[in-house]
């Protein structure tokens, strides 16, 4: 299925958010996730089923003022 990952279209076979992160090589990276504008806590990623067209955000610490 095709969905949007950090604003870019991606084709994936991953069924869950957790699987998508593994497939996309995030591995043990410290990230926070949201799907369709809603925060998905780390422990909930494995149960979060993905659907075509989902908007996935994967964020990490960044410089800020």
């Amino acid at each position: 299925m095709r969905l949007q990952l950090n604003g870019e279209p991606v084709d994936t076979e991953a069924a869950t958010l957790q699987a998508l992160l593994l497939e996309r090589d995030y591995g043990d990276a410290v990230v926070a996730t949201a799907v369709n504008g809603r925060f998905v806590p780390g422990p909930a990623r494995a149960d979060l089923k993905l659907n075509p067209g989902d908007l996935i955000e994967v964020l990490a610490p960044m410089q800020g003022g």
């Binding site: 990276a29 990230v31 926070a32 806590p41 610490p61 800020g64 003022g65």
Partner: protein, 257 residues
Amino acid sequence: MRSFYGTTLPNALMLGTAQYPSPAILAEAFKRSQAAVATVSLRRESSHDRAGQDFWGLIRDLGVRVLPNTAGCHTVKEAVTTAHMAREIFGTKWIKLEVIGDEDTLQPDVFGLVEAARILTEDGFQVFPYTTEDLVVAGKLLTVGCEVLMPWGAPIGSGLGLNNLFGLRAIRAHFPEVPLVIDAGIGLPSHAARAMELGFDAVLLNTAVAKAGDPAGMAEAFALALRAGQLAADADPMEPRDMASPSTPLIGQAFLS
């Protein structure tokens, strides 16, 4: 110094982490200033370069308390979602809440700010709201659960200093028990000292240090200015007056004319 949600900071400097020439210079600025708090943010992470992981390692090595922000958020929903993501990543209930309402001035949308502060406070966050010096807005932020207020000195990144001294004096006088932080617009150490002399509890700044020719030197200058301002405030400054008053005693002066 007043405490921030029960935390007493070692000094009054909250320093941003953006726009430095290099990570090494960022680290040196924190070392020279001994800043008590580092503000941080969240952005999209690429799995290829993992820039965020390196940055997070650098910040952890600084050993300072972090204050995540919701910079760039224009709606309540964006700000609330970002705050939740920040809490998970940074492991802190502190959140510098920004809901931007105007692109030219980066002035806060105070209506959205109050609503987002209410939601986040109910969710257990300890909110540091980036607001204006408006007393009514300040009162509403306190009513919804904020225990700290962060009025702007001037527009973010402008370096203009304390644009509305009357308004800042008023908010200090109106909420004498509330920890107040000047957030945004500071350009020079003298601005920071002035804020402390007015009775503010801390200053949050970034661009004035990061964009200086020598960021580490400027960071130390700010630390010294904040300390001077704090000492001055504690020492109970004199009241200014319009007319001259001789400081040298006139008694015993020779008659020489």
